[in-house]
Symmetry: C2
């Protein structure tokens, strides 16, 4: 049943769909798209008050914090469950919209393929905003500078290597699927990212559980820093979650989950996706191979508990050169088709 | 030629279109919407490097700052110029999407009426992000706390009164058009807003001029804190800007513009819109009447210079109860129709 299953992850037949980059481009991507609706709303959140009284606007009353912005495209003809996409570190939901070089992203593509398509901004970033109290308290000298949380950002040259566009900044792997000319517009997608901690992670899980509770059937997709978010949300709120997908997570916490948690995760179809060049030496920090191996161990552990977890390592399917930003790579819609194929095989036909 | 012209603003015939809240709901709003495309991109921006080296992600290279996120809906059949919408203080582009009580916003409505529809996040907020250097420098103790910029936010109870939903928090004007039940979801649209200064304003004008340069014909709409942005962009980059609209600006700078600037603004059709209850006494600060009067003076000055400026004060048209969040009021599409009517009368037929 598994699709593009890594040799190390069992629970598989070895059937592969024929590889044809355009075979699955159903519906004509240059044709107009007919939508039942498009829009946005918020989930999660709580009320807070601030200690410092800022000039002009605030005045001491309650404000909303920890809410999560959600945008959606609902196709005229719905033929599958809702797809919820969560972005990674220093990024926003823009990750899944138009690619940096102007091609169609997964947000639109899933809608064109009949899936209600949802993209969120993580709590703390983008249109979800954050709780500014800790910053203004330092400015107002009622809290020490070191109490202020760090805003992370990824530099362009570091992103090039960490996201595996090539072995050194400005140099592409010969088979790279990432459009090198799009590195500059990708850099514009980066926003300040408050260093995560357990509380901020929990705020995201709670908001996503709220969202999953509102959608009847949903499949959650996390990426990189949020790669494991779908696992955590499924543990918190299993109802209505029909499948979870981790795209290039920073590991799968294979040793960290209890037997009970693994048992719970074994009830949900799981897909983990990794691209190419995982073992390229990196001057900028650890390479991706340990994360991949941890996810192999996780998939094996879930399947040993009776689960249905699949590790999709794209080079095993003969698809070479995919980067960490696989949803923006040149073959991004081919990869989306693999996810859709997994939905039909492992989620809808279970 | 003017539409709903205030008695104080001349250059008018007194013809009013018949008032019928549903007359102009062309196209059937519950029908599917056919889009040529939807997506997003960035404009403006510059490169910066940070002094502090944050743990984990940054590493000292260049990053993008001051870029502006733009999202768009392009209808299958385009029948008018592009409409660009800019949000106000403590808010993001979400302002123009689905209303807080779940109705259609201007972003979708303009697209359904045949206009390519663009919504931005101001530089410094939402998916546009900001330059975090000043914050991390304070955290790293290489800059003093008071050098850190203030994050503004508006408290729920203050917003209620300042946005003229009613005379006191939780109390609606009897004729209020703002859906009182939507005050809580509106509060979730608020994000931390770095106190503006001339540099941050300039970054927004530059990015918007970049956008106007890319669009062939565009009409820029500002709101509240960004109400005058379209004037500034038209002065910076007149090419391609076919009209500018200020929705409830914090005044119109009637004394501040030079004769040369007024002359330049007289070349562009201008619409200024204000809702109801401008003179309601406010315990929370100055009421809106001085801003309205300043805009009356501005409109008169532009028209005296041969311009075509219109002040649309909705009560003068017999439309009562509109709030500061007029694009979210119950009659928001009726107001949008007035804007569209102005486009046809004053922009396309000039």
């Amino acid at each position: 049943m598994a699709l593009g299953l890594s040799a190390c992850a069992t629970n598989s037949d070895q059937t592969r769909p024929p590889r044809n980059p355009t075979a699955a481009r159903f519906g004509g991507l240059n044709k107009p798209m007919s939508l039942r609706s498009t829009g946005s709303f918020f989930v999660g959140g709580r009320k807070a008050t601030f200690t410092t009284l800022e000039a002009g606007l605030y005045r001491g009353g309650p404000v909303s914090v920890d809410q999560m912005y959600v945008e959606y495209l609902i196709p005229e003809a719905v033929t599958g469950p809702s797809i919820v996409m969560i972005h990674g570190a220093t990024l926003t939901g823009k990750t899944y919209e138009t690619t940096p070089d102007g091609r169609m992203g997964w947000y639109e593509y899933f809608a064109r393929q009949g899936f209600p398509s949802y993209v969120v901004d993580q709590v703390g970033r983008g249109r979800s905003g954050f709780d500014q109290a800790g910053f203004n308290n330092v400015r107002g000298k009622i809290a020490p500078p070191e109490s202020q949380r760090n805003f992370r950002r990824i530099a362009d040259d570091l992103a090039w290597v960490r996201f595996r566009f090539g072995p050194a900044a400005g140099v592409s792997f010969p088979d790279s699927q990432f459009p090198a000319e799009a590195a500059a517009p990708l850099a514009m997608q980066s926003v300040p990212d408050i260093q995560p901690d357990p509380a901020s992670d929990r705020a995201n899980y709670t908001a996503l559980a709220d969202l999953a509770g509102r959608l009847q059937d949903s499949i959650l997709i996390g990426h990189s820093q949020s790669g494991r978010f779908p696992f955590e949300v499924a543990l918190l709120h299993p109802g209505g979650i029909k499948g979870v997908v981790a795209i290039e997570p920073g590991g799968c916490n294979s040793d960290g989950y209890s037997a009970g948690q693994i048992s719970a995760l074994a009830k949900v179809p799981i897909l983990v996706v990794f691209g190419d060049h995982l073992d390229a030496p990196q001057s900028v920090g650890p390479n991706w191979l340990p994360f991949f191996k941890d996810c192999q161990a996780f998939v094996a552990r879930v399947n040993a508990a009776g689960g249905k977890a699949t590790l999709l390592h794209t080079p095993d399917m003969g698809i070479r050169g995919n980067s960490h930003m696989i949803m923006q790579d040149r073959n991004n819609l081919e990869i989306a088709d693999l996810l859709i194929s997994w939905v039909y095989r492992s989620v809808l036909k279970r």
